[in-house]
């Protein structure tokens, strides 16, 4: 056995170790106690696989008669430093509130890299000019299509969450027709390539362009509230694209890891959609408020809104027995996690029982609000999931809604509204309701919240952080 053969074998084993690390890591991430360790196991597997690849490349070059020069290493080292530096910097500096869009961005570049591998391979085949084997052809085309869709789709999703692109559903001119036409171009182009079998750069570029635009038109019409599910779905797509890339360059670890993420991502997407009581199909086709706006108008009389001052709210809170805090994205944006914890502790010292009602999609993603409150040292047992807390609202003296909107809208219980069918927190059952909100602006669903016109509701118009600070000061002064 030559040195090269020995190294090739050892590298294959290292890749297998990497794959095992991914599986163990992912399964340990199912439970809060082992999750962090699971992520480290997965990162360890990744390190082994990448280091082995670098050694393989070095040994191959040493054993080759071709002179490669420094170019390949320059590409790899500069690419790794640049990409790694960018990833490290953004991941460490991002505010926890903006974390979902960053994950989406990382997903975009992963899908982009997978598509680039197939494009590169196809250019090589075009230069060779000979017929392409059908299986290779299929994997290349699928990799390019899926990778491109997830690349642009994830960027749009990220832009929507960041507010660079309006979060509301955007109707593409021609709507479904454009999407259908793009889908037709990719399918016909792909079939053409499969049937002829000869490499055709022009058709490939056509497919690539259609898939890139398809990613945009697919994601634009989806409302911001559904974005977490979309990101999870695109995450699963990227996994599939990476598996396809594994077939293209005949690499087992890409196939294993890609298929693993593709499948687990699909299951996770379904779990997330279930938590919102929506089906994945429904989200991809419709989107919030995607239908006619007439439905929203049917949502009852406007009613008047009662404004309330911080001092009045402070009295209500201080002399209550049970208070339920309903945190939403507004709280996260205002960085008011610490302010709310401070107020809650002050109330607890006075003997008030304080709990937090966490809607499954509070914040921007499932579990996002738990992360934010944990960051502010809110005791874990006080965080209650929707099904546990809903029966308790009737006993609550005050429900304090901070920057949450659509997840509290009673209109969701009736059909005919854009939020219909979405599970909500039964805030309107509380004896008294206080809403801290900057203005009467609408939520992601783009409709009025009937909770605000409820006669039990007082509106404290303030930024979440300022409002909470005023409340804390007022409670102290009592």
């Amino acid at each position: 056995m030559t040195t090269l053969e020995l190294v090739e074998i050892l590298v294959r084993i290292a890749w297998l170790i990497g794959a095992v690390g991914f599986v163990i890591g992912l399964s340990r991430m199912n439970s809060p106690a082992t999750a962090r360790n699971g992520n480290l196991v997965s990162a360890g597997g990744m390190t082994v696989a990448i280091a082995a690849t670098a050694i393989l490349i070095a040994v191959r070059q040493a054993n080759s008669t071709d002179t490669f020069g420094a170019a390949p290493w320059l590409i790899i080292v500069v690419g790794v430093v640049l990409g790694g530096g960018l990833g490290l910097y953004t991941a460490r500096t991002v505010k926890m509130t903006a974390m979902p869009q960053l994950v989406s961005l990382f997903n975009a570049v992963g899908g982009g890299a997978a598509a680039l591998i197939a494009i590169d391979d196809y250019i090589r085949l075009v230069n060779l000019g000979s017929a392409v084997r059908i299986d290779e052809n299929i994997f290349i085309v699928l990799d390019i299509i899926i990778g491109s869709i997830t690349f642009t789709g994830s960027i749009v999703a990220s832009g929507k969450l960041q507010g660079l692109i309006p979060g509301k559903p955007i109707q593409v001119p021609g709507g479904q027709l454009v999407t259908l036409a793009l889908a037709a171009v990719t399918v016909i182009g792909a079939l053409f390539l499969f049937v002829t079998g000869t490499p055709n750069l022009l058709v490939m570029v056509l497919i690539l362009a259609a898939a890139l635009i398809f990613g945009v038109t697919m994601t634009l019409p989806i409302g911001g509230a559904d974005m977490p599910v979309v990101i999870s779905l695109l995450n699963s797509f990227t996994g599939t694209a990476v598996a396809m890339a594994g077939f293209v360059i005949d690499n087992p670890v890409l196939i294993i890891a890609g298929a693993l993420v593709g499948a687990s991502g699909a299951i996770l997407t379904k779990l997330m959609a279930d938590a919102m009581n929506r089906s994945v199909m429904n989200i991809m086709i419709g989107g919030f408020g995607g239908g006619d706006d007439a439905a929203g108008a049917a949502a009852g009389p406007g009613g008047s809104v009662r404004s309330i001052g911080a001092d009045d709210v402070a009295i209500q809170l201080a002399y209550a027995q049970h208070v339920i805090v309903v945190p939403g994205y507004g709280l996260a944006v205002a960085q008011a996690q610490h302010a709310v914890r401070e107020l809650a502790e002050l109330l607890e010292e006075r003997g008030v029982d304080v709990k937090y009602a966490i809607h499954p999609v509070a914040g921007r993603m499932p579990g996002h609000m738990n992360v934010l409150l944990a960051e502010a040292n809110v005791p874990y047992p006080q965080l209650k999931e929707m099904d546990d807390i809903n029966p308790e609202f009737a006993r609550a003296d005050v429900a304090l809604v901070i920057g949450a909107n659509d997840v509290t809208n009673p209109a969701a219980r009736r059909p005919g509204s854009p939020v219909s069918g979405m599970p909500i927190l039964d805030v309107d059952q509380a004896k008294s309701i206080v809403v801290i909100k900057r203005s009467m602006g609408k939520g992601y669903a783009g409709i009025d919240n009937e909770l605000y016109t409820n006669e039990k509701t007082g509106m404290l118009f303030a930024d979440a952080k300022d409002g909470l600070a005023a409340l804390t000061a007022a409670v102290k002064a009592l």
């Binding site: 399964s27 991430m29 690419g79 990833g87 570049v109 591998i117 990476v242 499948a263 996770l268």
Partner: protein
């Protein structure tokens, strides 16, 4: 396709199919709290595409290939490094679970 080619394809497809089944099995009933970190963790794993990007970079001789593989390497590394770091940051926060009310009175007083 020759017998050997079909054989190789079937081996790869076998691995692919079994990995899918493992992927389905490995996600059980996850508490909603962990949905976001779990998604982010899975997101880092497909950064394995870096292995592929490095391999095409190693054999890139044409300028166009060099450019494509460079972008692929940079993209994939960003996926890997950023993915793991941000996931770890998220999970770090779940470490301290049921804590007794912290000495927050100090905070509150300091803030007032």
């Amino acid at each position: 396709m020759s017998y050997d080619e079909i054989n190789g394809l079937l081996t790869a497809l076998t691995v692919f199919t079994l990995a899918i089944l493992v992927g389905i099995a490995v996600i059980s009933k996850v508490p909603a709290t962990l949905h976001t970190p779990l998604m982010s963790g899975a997101n880092s794993i497909h950064g394995i595409v870096l292995v592929g990007a490095m391999l095409i970079a190693a054999s890139a001789t044409e300028p166009i290939s060099q450019v494509l593989s460079f972008v692929a390497v940079a993209f994939a590394t960003m996926n890997v490094v950023g993915g793991y770091v941000v996931t770890d940051r998220m999970l770090q926060m779940f470490r301290k679970k049921p804590v007794a009310p912290k000495p927050a009175t100090d905070d509150a007083e300091a803030a007032s």
